[in-house]
Symmetry: C2
Subunit: 412 residues, 2 copies
């Protein structure tokens, strides 16, 4: 497992071959981050609590589905390329073992509440004594200082706190959430970015460091241009359905079947849009410039809707695509997941075979010289205890002692 397939002149096959990650993270952001590190070739050792393991395993799943698939779709989507071992961190023996393992890892990552790792004897100040090159990652809800740092939160809490919810919804309607956990998943890439920056720095200098992020940082990054606008001009934007305040047209329009979004922010693109669909009704002086179109938004949307409502979505997409106008069909989840374009760019990965195969989405970038390695399905709870203990040189006597002490969960 830790043997990297050699590609050429000793170059690693994966960008992170040989990098070992001790992963205490649970639920979404942390596991999504370590899945990407695993795709890049890192060895991901997922430490889980006894019994339930990572809470995402049972997240939102019916008892029947749990029995059928073994874990929730969320867990299966975010935990390939990892190995699992149970440790009961309430037991001192388990904490000691974790500290020994951390001494031989490159990266430790957790999303316990701020300070919890230190109470386990696993804080950065403690672990770096034995391992000064360690990259130690903490991920929390609101960060580790400030008036809200003691609060827990999840994606939807930060959609509320950050103002994202207040700009999402029908015009004049109630705020709604973005349907997917964008803040959690954005945070996963913030973690990946921070870890990779720290690894690069360590490779140049030998120096390890602490990487810190939070749902709050992730949410603020997703809201950044709204905040800068507010700080500069005082503007407090509101929901606009599928439209936005930046340009017109830039929203969904009705087709004879379903809906399409049409976006033509630039004047020449709008001119091509009007020409492709119905120049007589659309190529009007009151719509000519970006300022005109924003000023006459209501009229433009009404007229363009009349035009599109008469056409099948396929025709609208073809005509506007050919005219180099931004256009897309509003897909449901199934149409999107199965669309040929996603598979064509390598966006879908399958692990396992036949009925047991798990399909999931690839890491969100591709590297030409060090392509993603996808070779392990999401692990069953504690599936890799023996291999992991071998790897860290934990002998049979010691295993017996640890088992007796309940370090791996209730003694058998």
């Amino acid at each position: 497992m830790a043997e990297p397939a050699q590609q050429q002149e000793g170059a690693p096959a994966g960008a992170l071959d040989g990098i070992r990650v001790l992963d205490f993270s649970r639920i979404f952001a942390g596991p999504a981050a370590t899945q990407i590190l695993g795709d890049l070739g890192a060895d991901i050792i997922k430490i889980e609590e006894p019994g339930t393991g990572d809470g995402a395993r049972s997240f939102g799943v019916t008892e029947e589905a749990m029995a059928r698939y073994g874990a929730s779709p969320s867990y299966l989507a975010l935990n390939r390329n990892k190995r699992s071992m149970v440790l009961d961190l309430r037991k001192p023996e388990a904490r000691e073992l974790a500290a020994r393992m951390a001494a031989e890892c490159d990266v430790v990552i957790n999303n316990f509440r701020p300070g919890a790792m230190a109470t386990f004897g696993l804080g950065y100040e403690q672990l770096k004594q034995a391992n000064p090159g360690l990259i130690f990652c903490e991920f929390s809800a609101y960060g580790d200082s400030g008036p809200l740092s003691h609060l827990g939160a999840n994606d939807v809490a930060l959609q509320a706190h950050s103002g994202m919810m207040s700009i999402t919804g029908e015009a004049d309607g109630e705020p709604v959430r973005c349907g997917t956990a964008v803040i959690d998943l954005h945070a996963s890439l913030a973690l990946v970015s921070g870890i990779l920056a720290a690894l690069f720095h360590r490779q140049r200098t030998g120096q390890g460091q602490r990487v810190e992020t939070s749902l709050l940082r992730s949410s603020a990054h997703l809201m950044n241009y709204f905040y800068t606008d507010y700080w500069l001009t005082g503007a407090i934007h509101k929901p606009m359905g599928t439209a936005n305040h930046l340009s017109v047209p830039n929203q969904a329009f009705p087709a004879a079947d379903g809906r399409v979004v049409i976006i033509a922010p630039a004047d020449d693109m709008w001119k091509r849009c009007a020409a492709a669909l119905d120049p007589e009704r659309l190529d009007k002086p009151q719509f000519r410039t970006a300022f005109d179109r924003r000023r006459n938004r209501v009229e433009l949307v009404a007229v363009l809707s009349e035009v599109t409502r008469a056409l099948p979505s396929r025709v609208i997409v073809e005509k506007l695509g050919a005219a180099k106008v931004n256009v897309a069909k509003v897909h449901d989840v199934g149409e999107a997941a199965d669309h040929a374009q996603l598979a064509a760019i390598g966006g879908v990965v399958a692990i396992g075979e036949g009925a047991g195969a798990i399909r999931s989405v690839s890491s969100p970038f591709a590297l030409s010289a060090t392509p993603a390695r996808i070779d392990r399905p999401p692990p069953e709870l504690d599936a890799d205890q023996a291999a992991i203990l071998d790897q860290f040189g934990i002998g049979q006597d010691e295993r017996a002692r640890l088992t007796q002490a309940g370090a791996f969960g209730a003694p058998a």
Copy 2:
């Protein structure tokens, strides 16, 4: 600026000190990515087209605001720590200069349509001849192969295409967009991650490579657990307002003033929630387990709404926060931007002084040994031509020749 402040024993002050990035990217995702690289200490050379420059400079701004602030809030939010130079890539002399510059850079990044850089003589196959360690990044709408690769698109188009829009909105209402450009901004972190992985690999092996991503990859990553759920079970989720399908309660509730989100997915957290707010009405057998609460969602939401509607949001947040139940107020953009917590964790950065200061959001992660360097306000168009030409050793005669040829835009 290229002089890294030395921190200790030759260790770079920023993780990317000494890394030089030639940045052809425009609008959102690419500029957001290079801003983060700049915060990490890289030297970002922003190449812009003559006249308008980066289209984001005027995106969605009134003529008055443009005159007052010099550029749009979006541009100002995403372009600190860069220097700007205009090149007219329609001119062969400008392309030759760009190729010479690329030969002395570590990273080249662009979001032209797939293939455009190659037609300029600036494709990866061309540039790597002179610079085999180059990291060459391409960012496009749908990727560079497959049936949709010829189409342009923006954030909202991919919110439609990816199914994100189809799960966002009121239950039984029309799909709406997530109010902010989540797919673009998520793609920015995918770019940062890919570039940093490639830099780490190059540091270990000397080998450069091509980094590729797209709005499509970013959107699919944000939708990943919905796709895996669909592939596994056939489930096609629909909008649920502020709620989601994973657990109950997990949505916004009315307060006497405004709204709060309350999230209590685990049974013990729900018990604490009920105890803190109104045990008599909430601590009921039909709400006891996660499966019970999903089954009796309508009843639970109705009763909990009655309870919260009588309380000020401040009281709800205090009571539930103290009970370790996830809770957050639904803020508007101004409340969110100005919340003390964001400033407390270093989430707000200001550049410049007095009335000219620009406030923007920090990079979405923090590194303890190599903190972010924030030292340049977003550049005015072409502000750094002379310094950049000096840096690449372009002498006065050559500048005159390039100017004459229109490489820097229409000759003066």
